[in-house]
């Protein structure tokens, strides 16, 4: 069921209004690709984007952020946490990335609340935009059941007009009261008609056929497949090509591992404790003080990542650890491909 219909100019007006209160981050064309970037005007966004090279996770979990600042005085110290409270709106988030953000929400809430993430998240409004067809080749979001989202957004836009139509028309679904208040403010758009609902049904039917299945098994069969594959020779064989460059981790929307480092000023009396993105493919990730490395081989690191994405995260959180966006596969200059790994493992039964 649709809640509202918006034309493209109406949507742009709404985004411009939002920009008075929040920093706007959304898809921007650069280098012949799309990237999530901060914009000041709605017209700088391109909501017809196919996919963004990197996910929007950096807007919620930045590549580097300060956990606290400290000061050393009279032999002791004081420390003050740094919490980001900038109101933000992520405009134009595909369902796969919405699923990924739901996972991050879960992880940073689980056991101990991490307010550095959660505060930023609480101040962030999410405007989703649905995909009627795969954004590019190689994605396997339909296999992961993440090519549609029914929660995790404040507003979801369904682009119901034909591609290339001069006047794009969006069917709107509210996710939260914040989203509803935004859309209804100024009484833009109109109430959906029976025809709109029929168009929406047709859209959903088209969508079901448009996404190819890439995997030879269902997502919920992957844990069992991996259980049988721990000692497969495929890990070492595939990892022979691996640079251990971490590009797969760092471009993954569900990777949330981080390192913690101290920085000081030249005086040495003041400084910051920072966290930065890390990745389990990097050689030193599991190395302890004294030099022992618990995953010294690229093969064991590759296996660790695939297990995390397809088995362990799901076990721990009940949410998909991989959203099938294939950013890891595209980022890998060695062309190591996760779909190929799963399908190869399936042959070993």
């Amino acid at each position: 069921m649709l809640d509202r219909m918006l034309t493209h100019p109406e949507l742009l007006e709404l985004v411009n209004e939002l920009a008075l209160q929040r920093r706007i981050v959304g898809p921007v064309a650069r280098d012949g690709r799309y990237f999530y970037e901060e914009v000041t005007r709605a017209t700088d966004l391109d909501l017809t984007f196919n996919y963004c090279v990197y996910s929007p996770r950096g807007a919620l979990f930045p590549p580097q952020e300060t956990l606290f600042v400290f000061k050393r005085t009279n032999g002791t110290f004081t420390a003050e946490p740094v919490i980001d409270v900038r109101p933000t709106a992520l405009v134009g988030v595909h369902p796969c990335d919405i699923h990924a953000i739901r996972l991050l929400d879960h992880v940073f809430e689980q056991d101990q609340r991490d307010e550095h993430y959660l505060s930023r998240r609480a101040h962030t409004m999410i405007v989703g935009i649905d995909c009627q067809r795969p954004c590019t080749e190689g994605v396997f979001c339909a296999d992961m059941e993440t090519n549609a989202a029914d929660k995790g957004f404040d507003v979801m836009l369904y682009p119901l007009s034909d591609p290339g139509a001069t006047e794009p028309l969006y069917g709107v679904v509210y996710g939260t009261s914040i989203g509803r208040d935004w859309v209804l403010y100024g009484r833009r758009g109109r109430i959906p008609t029976a025809t709109d609902e029929r168009t929406f049904e047709q859209y959903q039917r088209h969508k079901t056929d448009a996404f190819p299945r890439m995997l030879r098994m269902k997502a919920d069969e992957l844990p069992a497949l991996l259980d049988r594959s721990y000692d497969s020779l495929l890990w070492e064989a595939t990892a022979r090509r691996c640079y251990s460059c971490g590009s797969c981790n760092l471009s993954c929307p569900t990777c949330y591992c981080f390192n913690i480092l101290d920085e000081t000023d030249l005086s040495g009396t003041t400084g910051r404790r920072e966290r930065t993105w890390d990745g389990c493919h990097l050689r030193e990730f599991a190395e302890v003080a004294g030099g022992h490395n618990f995953r010294p081989k690229a093969g064991s690191r590759l296996r660790h990542r695939i297990y995390r994405k397809a088995k362990w995260i799901r076990q721990r959180t009940g949410l998909p650890g991989c959203v099938g966006c294939a950013r890891c596969d595209r980022a890998c200059t060695a062309k190591i491909n996760s779909v190929e790994i799963y399908n190869q493992l399936a042959e070993e039964v």
């Binding site: 691996c242 101290d262 200059t333």
Partner: protein, 261 residues
């Protein structure tokens, strides 16, 4: 007590020493935290009671060799800065002039050949007693290396700050790709450019790819395993032989070639 710092140059363009003066905004803070006691590029005093000595340039003449031993003797901590001091740098390209040996080497050393010298200095070659170009670690013990062409001035500052705070300084043990991803740079492989990022040590904040130029490996190879992977990938995925890519790597780090597969 503020640490006493010296900055020395051997054979090179001295651009790394100059990078320290280019710190501009932080230079006054730096001068507040350390005493610079010997720096030809920036002052006239010369003192030899030194806590930390920074050296740029390669060892490329008998005179360089003598000097670098002298520096080592007078510096408690010796730090190589820039590709020349850390990897041999551009100076090592001379090894490939009139080359006869395997992998292009052999222009010097073997049979006392000095083809490169005649190539550069013509019939005055005897006036210039140059040797094989080497990183300073080939001659003396080096405590830390800050590679790059030029040295990354932010890394220099981070190094000094670490030492002042008593924090261990370590070069990143990961490839340039990490920094491209953190910056949100489009991978040059997507534009069909064979960048050396995946095999090169990070720490430069991936500045070249951010401006559309491929990484040329000026900070040296991150690991042997990465280079082995490169050999396989270039041939199998890109129809290029590793040797062609090594020609690029040689620009800054030909001296590393002894370790290459």
């Amino acid at each position: 007590m503020k640490p006493r710092i010296a900055i020395f140059s051997l054979t090179g363009c001295e651009g790394c020493s100059l990078a320290i003066l280019e710190l501009e905004d932080q230079l006054l803070d730096l001068l507040g935290a350390v005493d610079i006691v010997n720096f030809r590029e920036g002052m006239t005093d010369r003192a030899w009671d030194i806590d930390i000595g920074f050296v740029d340039g390669a060892v490329s003449t008998p005179e360089d060799e003598k000097e670098v031993r002298h520096f080592r003797e007078h510096c408690k901590v010796l730090v190589a800065i820039g590709s020349c001091a850390c990897l041999g740098g551009i100076n090592t390209l001379k090894h490939y002039q009139g080359a006869t040996g395997p992998k292009g080497r052999g222009a010097i050393g073997e049979n006392g050949s000095d083809a490169y010298r005649r190539y550069v200095y013509g019939d005055k070659a005897e006036w210039f007693p140059t040797t094989e170009a080497r990183p300073i670690s080939a001659v003396v013990k080096v405590d830390y290396e800050l590679p790059g062409c030029p040295m990354v001035k932010e890394e220099f500052l981070a190094f000094v700050t670490s030492l002042l705070a008593g924090r261990t300084f370590k070069l990143p043990d990961f490839a340039v790709c990490v920094e491209c991803k953190k910056r949100g740079t489009l991978c040059l492989y997507e534009k069909g450019i064979l960048c050396l990022g995946p095999v090169t040590r990070a720490g430069c904040n991936a500045i070249c790819p951010a401006f559309g130029s491929k990484c040329e490996g000026c900070r040296g190879i991150v690991s042997k395993e990465a280079l082995v992977a490169a050999g396989i990938n270039l041939r199998e995925q890109y129809n290029v032989e590793l040797q062609e890519v090594l020609d690029d790597l040689r620009l800054y780090g030909a001296y590393q070639e002894a370790d290459l597969p």
